[in-house]
Amino acid sequence: MKAVYFAWVRERIGRAEEEISPPREVETVRQLVDWLAARGEGYAAAFANPKTIRAAIDKTHAGPDAPIASAREVAFFPPMTGG
């Protein structure tokens, strides 16, 4: 699946998007955050406080318990500040 990152999540990880292949036991958004956080320093910094991370699956907001099995694109970003 494709992972995309925005704002300071993107800056800390150091890239805007990438292809990821999490193992089968990673089933939810929360588990995916934990798996990504273990990939390196930038990832650990980006996901240090899961409460400040929002996620979307295929461009729709998704909570921590949302299943990722059928996702084509998972996005991670800070709380929105538009308007």
């Binding site: 995309v4 300071w8 709380p79 929105m80 538009g82």
Partner: protein, 156 residues
Amino acid sequence: MTSPTVRVQAEGFDPAKEEALLTQGRRDVGAVVAFTGLCRDEDGSLVALELEHYPGMAEDEISRVAQEALSRWPLIGLTVIHRHGLIRPGEPIVLVVTAARHRGEAFAAAEFMMDYLKTRAPFWKKERRIDGSDGGWVAAKKEDDAAAARWSSDPE
């Protein structure tokens, strides 16, 4: 049913022109509410705001919120424009225009749109300061969450 006009763009816009588009040739509109959000200079310290967005999701999410507004209030017209990219103090960032028979629904729907836009539309603001420093990312405000939350407990 009214279909909303939703645009996500880098270019500026003319609020008066967008408002006129909702009312021209009509005689059933009794109320138009137009809200324009502008970039502030933060007491002269800000040279620009850089607005990052999630292409695709930004349009989708604004459209979802616009449909929700249309299902809650009997609107005759609804236009939402949100910019991305570099925006300088004094320039418009966001526009919501609602047209209805009566002012109550026009005011309420416009406020609802803005409250939801601020908390659900995937945009992030980065400050560029006049002294050349990076002002960092604007933090989400608790008050914005509270403003959006009141619409779920009190639909009117």
